[in-house]
């Protein structure tokens, strides 16, 4: 008896839906083993991670707040990945967006600037994110440089640039020397959706982005171009679509969305620019994109799920002294299983019994 992996005639629609769930299941099994090795009660740990955050209103809002940047970034990344353009640097585009938007907030601080400030911050952040993402895109198209490397390296450039600004020119003079800008003025702050709560306008923007991406990919010729260029490059060229143009376009869009997420995070939940505004949103969004199967609605669900792991990880740390890094381990294992389970869409397992068949063949 042997187990063979064989190709399906057509991709399985059922498995395409189920495979992320299988991946989540396998991840949880692995985590149970990991918790046991750490000497923690696995059931209590799973409860702290996945159930407790869903039981109170504050945590639910917090999940939506964390999911907002994840979903926005992941939607942009999914466009890149569908078009076979590998943007790994969303974290950097997020930070540059935050910096560019904050520039307006810092310059208008204490003035009587009107309601134009926040919209201007959003636009500038998106533009800056897009421009920053265009650096690896243009290097790829013009010089054939690997966008994976260049986009990743630019993350560190952005990180250090932000660090320089808040320790130097933009440091709050009344901030006791902490590396941070002053609190943004109300006109430079993303409005809350619930008075006294945490949920802010960014959540609505994220939903609009999901809807726009669903229409783009499902209904428009541009979305079709993106999908063909990634799925069958030679056929795409035969169809008259230019892969280079789409590398530029998808990088620009995903950079803009990451930049927008960056300024919304700074002008929303954080309220000022400081180092460490992102717990790795730009990288976690890669997992969100794949867990959501590069599908906008899938990404929405996956974004909420990974936000849950962030909140659950904090709760598990407080309640059970489980290190916060376990959350990152969890996310890494999840990505591993998601990619592994994807092969089940095109292949299936089958048990074969060669001996019996030989017996039949020779009578």
């Amino acid at each position: 008896m042997q187990l063979v992996l064989e190709k399906r005639a057509e991709r399985s629609g059922t498995i395409a839906l189920v495979s992320p769930l299988i991946a989540v299941g396998l991840t949880i099994v692995t985590m149970v083993i990991l918790f046991a090795i750490l000497g923690k009660n696995p059931l209590l740990a799973l409860h702290a991670y996945f159930i407790a955050p869903l039981t109170d209103g504050y945590s639910l809002q917090e999940i939506a707040v964390k999911a907002t940047p994840l979903v926005m970034i992941a939607i942009g990344l999914s466009l890149c990945y569908l078009a076979n353009a590998w943007n790994i640097g969303a974290e950097g585009q997020f930070l540059i967006g935050a910096v560019a938007g904050s520039w307006i907030a810092v310059r208008t601080q204490g003035t009587d600037a009107g309601a134009w400030v926040l919209p201007a911050m959003l636009v500038l952040a998106a533009a800056a994110g897009a421009l920053y993402a265009l650096i690896p895109a243009i290097c790829k198209v013009k010089f054939g440089a690997s966008e994976i490397l260049t986009s990743l390296m630019l993350v560190y450039v952005a990180d250090l640039f932000l660090d320089y600004l808040v320790r130097g020119p933009w440091r709050d003079p009344h901030g006791f020397n902490f590396p941070t800008t002053a609190e943004f003025d109300p006109v430079a702050t993303v409005p809350l959706l619930i008075e006294g709560g945490r949920l802010h306008l960014g959540a609505i923007i994220a939903l609009l982005v999901v809807a726009a991406a669903a229409i783009l990919l499902g209904r428009t010729i541009k979305g079709f171009e993106i999908r063909v260029v990634g799925a069958a490059p030679r056929a795409a060229r035969f169809g008259g679509f230019k892969a280079d143009h789409l590398v530029i376009l998808t990088f620009a869009v995903s950079g803009a969305l990451a930049g927008l997420a960056g300024i919304i995070e700074v002008a929303g939940p954080v309220g000022h620019l400081q180092p460490g505004i992102s717990p790795g949103y730009g990288f976690t969004a890669i997992i969100v994109a794949f867990l959501g199967r590069l599908n906008p609605l899938g990404i929405l669900v996956a974004g909420l799920f990974l936000a849950l792991t962030f909140i659950g990880g904090e709760q598990a740390q407080i309640a059970m002294k489980i290190p916060l890094d376990v959350t990152k381990v969890f996310q890494g294992i999840l990505l591993f299983y998601v990619l592994a389970c994807d092969s089940l869409i095109l292949y299936r397992f089958r048990l074969v019994f060669p001996n019996r068949q030989v017996a039949r063949g020779t009578r």
Partner: protein, 529 residues
Amino acid sequence: MQAHQRMFDSTPEGLNSGESPLLRTIGLTKRYGDFLANDSIDIDIWPGQIHALLGENGAGKSTLVKAIYGLIQPSAGEIYWLGERIVLSGPSEARSRGIGMVFQHFSLFDNLTVAENVALGLDGRESFNDMSARLAQVSKTYGLPLDPRREVWQLSVGERQRIEIVRALMQDPKFLILDEPTAVLTPQESDQLFIVLERLKSEGRAILYISHKLEEVKRLCDTATILRGGRKVETCDPRRETAASLARMMVGGEIKEVKAAAGRTTTVPRLVVNDLSLAPGEAHGVRLAHISFELKGGEILGIAGVAGNGQDELFAALSGERLSKDPGTVVIEGIAAGHLSITQRRKLGAAFVPEERLGHGTAPRMKLSENALLTGHAASGMVHRGFIDTAATLKTVDRATETFDVRKAKRDPEAASLSGGNLQKFIVGREILRNPAVLVVSQPTWGVDAGAAAVIRQALLDLATAGAAVLVTSQDLDELAEIADRIAVMFHGRLSAPLAASEATREKLGLLMGGSMLEPKEAAHAVGA
């Protein structure tokens, strides 16, 4: 070894004579999922015989020889070699036992020399110099001239095949498998190959000769085994059959004859190529040189030639996948289009069918409706203000399905799930339904079953009758003879002057395919340049 040879006496079939077959399979079965590529195939290969293996694409010929050569493990059944049951661990064991194979697709390194390529295929126990000497000797003995020091990329397809044959012969095989060896050869090169095969046969070696060229098989082979749908249909003596009776066994029925409408008239020039020259896009690609022809409405121009003589490059230049600096080199419907993109050329009324169905003509993992959109988005009312009209794309699928008898499991499956013939009918149908003024099609029936091939050739003829200009590139001379009005030959990136189909004999075309009749013209160009 001797003791093992007696083993056959105990098998149910036994042996009718004292000698045993070199190789025998009993109930050989290969299963891929639910699909039986080979279903209980029994075959006997005798020494000193050329045994033809006939069948349409997908009949299971390749699967059978791969199992015999140890490339795949059969799911069930037995293989006996010299009377001994063997389970081959891989091709190297097959080779060490005396089974050689020459593949249809060569496995040669372009940047290495002939001798280096041969050395890579051997076990490396002898020194390179000894091996080179033996290579020269084998190639001389069998009349397969080769210069061991030349790099492969400089060689013609026929010469490359010689390397593969010599490489196989250097292991002194008792049994040689050849997979469609003449598919890439000119008629004259084929004749030379047959002389070599006759000689190998006279030395007592066995040959398994895969082909679907029936006249060739009748001429050359002693025995023929015919496969259809993974099963053995018949083993017969091809010399006692007619080409038609062999074809019936392969196809399992009569093949519809393709008929040209009487009184086809040619009209205005719809596709004109003026002195088109283009540097190769990739290393070792072919440089197109001074190609000119004029194709009128109502006319089918065939382009013959051995693969790799610039046909792919010409297709790319005509389709607009590669652009030319000079707009006047390609004129579509009277408009200079050399600099226009493939989409703009489609808008002028041109349509294109590339050789490769999956990955070039279609995106394999996308639905047929999306693949209809792939070439229809520019000019077929499938897109309104950037939004896709899904109903329109599905309608194209339905119309192609109906008009060209495309068989599929559901209304709108993925392209990759269709059989080669049905997918090709869809692709050709997709383009013809756009009512093109010019259709450029490359290898329209390559790897397609006989029924689908007839449908496609008829469709091309009907399109020409309706007034379109049709350019067909094909390696199949019979196909061109059947549908083309004029035939030109590509060689080394140049195109011969077209011959009227009535004058284009196999001999003439064969000489052009070998480049011989082009020499004076080439010289003239050199003087002119």
